[in-house]
Symmetry: C2
Subunit: 686 residues, 2 copies
């Protein structure tokens, strides 16, 4: 299965890439032709019109068919692997909208990447494969059933996510590490090997496509081979004296990253208000951003003077170029001159990154062009991310960061002895780390992107500094988005004040747990299901006088299955095991629970009994009521629980064998502080 996930992700990623490269290439060629003919207005209208159309397709698809396909999808995957299932997230509509929308959005020249969406596409593929497909068209092969359980689905989605990263950056090891460091909550060593297998498959598929597309047969696709931004050409030599400027790049990168997170947070809150106004508002917002982007990309290159080709020095590449790619775009300049800002702005984001990373080009880009580039991409990056199209965060930040790195190199020119292209790489790494707060995975992704092993120690150094600086200000961008989306993500570490409160106190602050007897009247069960939204109910028993028993935990879905099948007993008795086994299969019990109200039960049926004991999980995880919440949170998270039963400290006749039941929501810091405001004060003291 991991193989299939990798295979499909690789194929789809290649096709998306192919489509984006060709659409952008055609668009740019026509636009530049118009500009060369000095029909500037026509050029702008053509450029903006095509972009608007592409954005409209992407946004309309997103708004109408799959609102959850907007954005990168990575926070939702992270939440899913933490145990929070966002509805309608990993289905076929999301997959298709994400693919088409991603092509449209990226081709429209907006400041967003296809990297995040590719991760989501990988996860969707994994989910659909594990279930054999969507709804009515579902394949019902027998062997697929082996994967249709929560754990294998979780594992496959992890594989999908790492395949996505691998396909986006052509970085197999980076993909595995990204899944490990950023996405997954639980990790098993078997998973390492499975994700590795799927990313290996992706790489093989990508290699195949690149092989086929060699010699420009598929447009720009395949350029650079497996290494997207090769900077291995320069030999890196650095000494103690280089540490100071590099440290500065790291510190500033951390500050910028934290600031970016902060501002993006505010923008997203504003956008949430706009998007809440309905579909038209969402669409209008996306189109407005598209027009703004087109205007910026088209008009700004006119603002910088043309550079004579000779100034580029030894770079022997053809200069100027009018075609699709190349470092020296002629655009509006006379022959023999090039417009350095146009080289950066009039390309796919990938090509722009390749240009800005290119080594041996210290004098190629002017400081003012880079400043304009940095400024426009800061603004666009902040404005674009929240709109209703599939959008990734990686590339915008890499672009911003690389511009920042080159600016730093130009400003610090007298202290800089490392190639400016490498400074661009370091700047990108610093900003990524300052915003996303990843370390090892970023390091490997950058290594695999740039193929310069000697740069690794400085990259590590910069990443660590930027992360440390960023962490001093705010959480990572994904955590901010998770929080904004209101997903109940369980943090790996409990808060310190959680040690001061026991789970028993927590349970006492909640309504009393609704319990069932092991043989219960149908009417009681229906009543309980109707009146509470809980998903699990403790089952009690009193096998003989003087002895009480916490029999276990029964799930709402199982109760619904029993009601649906009307497996009722006329009298209050315990059934034998075979009776239930004859009637219920494990797949039947795993089906989705509908609503209680749909069941039409006659008064006679309501008067009958249900024996819950075949459906009860008799060994749920239990904690004593005096256990601290901190300890309970650790247990809950490490064992990946959904319900945790609280048992009393003392055992006696008059004492109920259950104190309460805790769920994920009960253990979230925010909710506990709501019930115990005094802890919030303590929190400040700590």
């Amino acid at each position: 299965m991991a193989f299939l996930v990798g295979l499909l992700t690789g194929v789809i990623a290649s096709l998306i890439n192919l489509a984006i490269e060709n659409i952008t290439g055609l668009k740019m060629l026509r636009m530049v032709t118009l500009v060369r003919e000095r029909r500037y207005w026509a050029g702008f209208l053509y450029f903006a019109g095509v972009n608007l159309g592409l954005t409209f397709v992407a946004a309309a698809l997103c708004v109408v068919f799959a609102p959850t396909a907007a954005g990168p999808g990575i926070p939702e995957i992270k939440a899913y692997l933490n145990g929070v299932d966002t509805p309608n997230m990993f289905g076929a509509p999301q997959l298709i909208v994400k693919i088409v929308g991603s092509i449209g959005a990226v081709s429209s020249g907006m400041d967003l990447g296809k990297e995040g969406p590719l991760v989501h596409i990988g996860a969707c593929l994994a989910n659909l494969l594990s279930q054999g497909g969507e709804g009515r068209w579902r394949l019902r092969w027998r062997w697929l059933r082996f994967f249709n359980n929560d754990r294998d689905r979780r594992d496959l989605i992890t594989c999908g996510a790492s395949s996505g990263v691998c396909a986006a950056f052509r970085a197999p090891v980076g993909g595995v590490l990204f899944a490990l460091e950023e996405v997954a909550t639980w990790w098993r060593s078997a998973l390492l090997w499975r994700t590795f297998f799927s990313t290996a498959t992706v790489v093989v598929v990508l290699r195949g496509f690149i092989e086929v597309c060699r010699n420009g047969r598929c447009g720009m696709f395949g350029e650079g081979g497996l290494i997207l931004f090769d900077v291995s050409g320069v030999t890196v030599r650095y000494h103690a004296g280089d540490l100071l400027p590099v440290t500065l790049v790291g510190v500033l990168g951390g500050l910028f990253g934290a600031l970016y997170n902060h501002v993006l947070h505010q923008v997203l809150r504003l956008y949430n208000l706009i998007n809440a106004r309905g579909r038209l508002a969402k669409l209008a917002l996306a189109l407005a951003v598209s027009v703004l982007t087109s205007a910026g990309l088209y008009l700004l290159p006119f603002a910088v003077p043309c550079t004579p080709c000779s100034a580029a020095g030894a770079a022997a590449a053809s200069c100027p170029t009018v075609g699709k790619s190349g470092n020296f775009k002629q655009f509006n300049c006379p022959d023999g001159f090039y417009n350095d800002l146009a080289s950066l702005l009039h390309a796919t984001n990938t090509d722009a990154t390749r240009n800005i990373f290119s080594t041996g080009t210290a004098g190629e880009f002017r400081l003012d062009s880079l400043l304009i580039f940095f400024a426009i991409y800061c603004v666009l990056g902040l404005l674009t991310f929240g709109i209703a199209v599939p959008s990734g965060l990686f590339l915008p930040i890499i672009l911003m960061g690389s511009a920042y790195g080159r600016i730093a190199a130009l400003v610090l020119a007298r202290f800089v002895r490392i190639d400016h292209g490498l400074y661009a790489v370091l700047g990108a790494a610093a900003l990524m780390s300052g915003s996303m707060r990843m370390t090892v995975s970023l390091c490997v992704i950058f290594l695999e992107l740039t193929n310069n092993l000697l740069l690794l120690p400085i990259t590590m150094f910069v990443l660590l500094i930027a992360k440390t600086v960023g962490d001093a200000f705010n959480p990572s961008i994904y955590e901010i988005i998770l929080d904004l989306k209101g997903l109940p993500f369980l943090e790996p570490k409990p808060e310190t004040w959680m040690k001061d409160i026991a789970v028993g106190e927590l349970a006492a602050a909640k309504p009393r747990a609704v319990t069932l007897q092991v043989v219960e009247r149908v009417s009681t069960v229906v009543e309980v299901l109707r009146s509470t939204p809980h998903n699990g109910f403790p089952v009690l028993d009193r096998p003989r006088p003087g002895v009480s028993e916490l029999h276990g935990l029964v799930l709402r879905s199982h109760l619904m299955a029993v009601l649906r099948k009307r497996w009722f007993l006329p009298e209050r008795r315990r059934t034998e095991e075979w009776e239930a086994r004859e009637k219920f299969s494990s797949t039947g019990l795993a089906e989705k629970a509908g609503s209680v109200d749909e069941l039409q039960l006659s008064p006679e049926e309501l008067d009958m009994y249900i024996d819950l004991h075949p459906f009860t999980n008799t060994t749920p995880y239990t904690v004593v009521e005096t256990m601290s919440v901190a300890k309970a949170v650790v247990l809950f998270r490490t064992c990946a629980l959904r319900h945790m039963l609280i048992i009393p400290k003392f055992q006696g006749l008059e004492i109920s064998p259950i104190v309460g039941i805790l769920t994920r929501q009960d253990l979230r810091a925010h909710n506990i502080l709501g019930a115990f405001p005094l802890l919030a004060n303590k929190r400040k003291v700590h």
Copy 2:
């Protein structure tokens, strides 16, 4: 702290390297001079004598001062991080013996690496630093106390292990991944970042040393810079046609690896018998292997004919060489000729690997030389590992594997279109994976060793194949060693038959758990401590009639602390919290427990009472007696427990609130099968 660990590991690794390179270099130079003078016997005696002396130093140190310093130490680190503390493993004597012994053993030319020992050295440093030093010389700085707890010690040892790998292979990311994939049992995202930080420090230190030692100022050290075996010179081009030979290399590598594991297992069992005979036997074994090695290394090059330098083709290096390094050793050959086997055998293992990995040298090594090399290193590798000197497994396997890869390239010459040096890399990767069964970390280590990113996809492919093939035959080499050492390692996955047995049944098969009352007579406590070896005792209470309580779990060390301080009560009463807090500090309680018999208690004291309630952990992890062992094992491992209390299913007056107590030993598959032999049959059916 992670910084300090990295710093010291880096410094020590560099010094070890320096010492080994220089000792070996001097030895070789003198030996070759004797050979050039045609005094063959004198050459042999000198060579064997020096080797014997060096081995004697290493083995004698190991045997006399620190028997646990023999071998690689990685299995013990793995066990420690799993929760099994091997006594006298991470102290100062082990550290010093490991450093000196490693220098001696590697310089003596034996077929062992310094990589495993470096990992152990890193772990020792981490442990000593976390405690502020050893025994009497311990630093008692206040801030060190923050690290002197189990979790931080565990984390630091993980950092130490990854620093060791990083220092050995100059592979910072590989080090982190090695710790993650092979060594650590529990992993937190904070740990990723800490290990990354310490490996980053190691790299900076190594860079510093290499910088200082440039231009041959420190002998051979520093050659190759940060990348040990650079093969980035060749551009890798591979096509579908190359898949077949590469697959073959992978499959055969897996087979060889599994075979190697199997034979090594047998050899180690034999050696265990010999080593059990006492110190002299150990020493004699080590010296015998040393003589055998010297004979092999010295005599075998005479068996191959000399190759004329011109046959080496375009390789413009000086040929032949008489000095310390170089691909074309003259040895016994006339001028203008070189002895290819001597190039491989008369060098440190690192240099031999560099020679055999060197690219563009398809014709340099003769098939018969390679076959001899492969054979002698197979034999020596198997014989050397178990002797009483610090020895690593990495380099012997890499050497064997690279020879195997080159042989494969020569044999398959007509199908091979990739450079033979790269085939050597692939062969080494295949054999490593076939024996050690790592994937991602090996992949990254090889990437960082060879600096050829384009080789990555094929390396991944070969690693996956070899691991799959190897797993079909036997467990990884580290698991075999763990098993041989009898360390109670908890496997990540419970066996399937564990689902068929409940923890209650397990407890019933053991002697009844020894429980204490919350206020207990001193004589009873002493008696319990004396008669049982348990480390934890359940504490029961009966606060009022009709109510019973499992008060919690008290540790042997805490009971001992109370007895040592003679904190006894004249009457049976509960104490107030401040009474105990006045008397005991957390550091006092954490001290090592001595033996009960050392305490001289008067009969009056024995008649007094102890109130256990301030010392009891009132919220131990509990499971219901009906829970399956499989579920309990998962809980035990994921929450890193030492004791797990079993509570009864039913609560009632006449029912004790505790059924039993489970420890690591109780949950090991081997021990369960001992008590329930019937399950073993079931196991076969499954």
